[in-house]
Symmetry: C2
Subunit: 303 residues, 2 copies
Amino acid sequence: MSGLSGLDWIAADWGTTNLRVWALDAAGRVLARATGGRGMGKLTRADYEPALLDMVGGWLGADRVPVLICGMAGSRQGWAEAPYAAVPCAPLAAGRTVRPAVADGRLDVHLLPGLQQDSPADVMRGEETQIAGLLAGRPGFDGVLCLPGTHSKWVRISAGEVVSFQTAMTGELFALLSGQSVLRHGMAGEGWDEAAFAEGLGQAISRPERLAARLFAIRAEGLLHGLPPEAARSRLSGLLIGAELAGARPYWLGQEVAIVGAEGIGGAYRRALAGQGVEAVLADGEAMVLAGLGAARALMRGH
Amino acid sequence: MSGLSGLDWIAADWGTTNLRVWALDAAGRVLARATGGRGMGKLTRADYEPALLDMVGGWLGADRVPVLICGMAGSRQGWAEAPYAAVPCAPLAAGRTVRPAVADGRLDVHLLPGLQQDSPADVMRGEETQIAGLLAGRPGFDGVLCLPGTHSKWVRISAGEVVSFQTAMTGELFALLSGQSVLRHGMAGEGWDEAAFAEGLGQAISRPERLAARLFAIRAEGLLHGLPPEAARSRLSGLLIGAELAGARPYWLGQEVAIVGAEGIGGAYRRALAGQGVEAVLADGEAMVLAGLGAARALMRGH
């Protein structure tokens, strides 16, 4: 068992749907990476160690290697529960990780906790690591982060701490409405119509209370006026992101905003905010999660 | 083949999910009734006649019997398309029904058309018959009808005509969110908590732009504060109905309102409107569809 030369530790982002892993050397350089579909949603507690070994077993030599994991693997239904830390607090802190029992002595597994807010009640798991990644590169950041996704997060940051946050189910609503509601008729699976996106966005930001009626209008316009499937999909996206922005207005209005996400969805949020006079910067979501896991590794070393 | 004694015609409400049929005599009295699960969503064009005969075959004698059908059976994906009539117009009009070809000579099938509104684009199929049923009993009604359901309708009525209408996807959103989203964890399949319903309702009516954030808070309160499953379900219902009411405010504010629906859901809407100072009356949805089909039968006779 020679393993991967120079391997110092392993980083993992273990979400509901996917597992992404990286092999890193002592200087934090990426030696190898892999992505698989064995997310928390498909696993029982006993499946986690074998699933991890399937992905990283080839990297291991004889030595014990730290494996830092963020995301849903640390939830109550995951590998082991890493209890939430309560805001206001730093997104990561030394000594708060949880170590599940493992059979393979080469694995030294640490699950990172998520964050909770008591009132209004809210939770995050995984995003706190992306936040830590952004703060690692910009320690003086004072403003608001937007992390678009299945459950989009809006996060107030000050003095290196998460002050408060708010979740919108935008991505999940989009998936349900475009894939399983009456709107799926006449809705494209891909393709983009920027004008239709902007139209839906503007409608929802200016009149968020009309969202439920605007949604059905997509179907009616398809039946009556032949709304093209790409326009229907883009309009739906615009309506839902617009409704999210309307509800998050106290977060972004007059603030410095950074968006953490992939180019496609992150760019859509950036254009949407620009239309409201907010010039947000965009940070890559995958780079931020890796930087955040690196920050957690540095904290662990210092501890 | 003696059939049902006194049978004059058959009424049918053929929706996406269910088929309901009634046998009536010449005076409009119900001789028999039946309900089955063969809705439009499960049928191809060739299935309609056999599905109908399965339900009403035992009622037929040797004579040809009129069968009046409202609902999705008249849609483009149904038995035959009964093109929409454009508002403003009466909910039913003589000579607008469509007769699909049938193999069994005892069936004289008439599909009732739905209504369309060009701008804002909107459609209904089936509700127009309930509206006609209400107007048959209250020909001078001048005000607004609310028809809660999978796709709730708000309808302005004046001088016996449908003037305008608006659809909200409230029932479908409730089914998707309670059954298939992350909210399904910690959500009861039944049970009711009126205080939680009222709380969600109040939140959504007063701050409809915060809907997306309020939805996720149901999940977070379950995780952090042990929100009971019945309260979660009732809060979700309150939030979605509240959002619908907020979007339909121009319809009900200062108007005479009648709700057409079953006691459970109709009562929830009535209490919600009462909280806004609107005392709505409640008309039973099944009685109204039968009365509307009776009105269509009377029109056909007069024609």
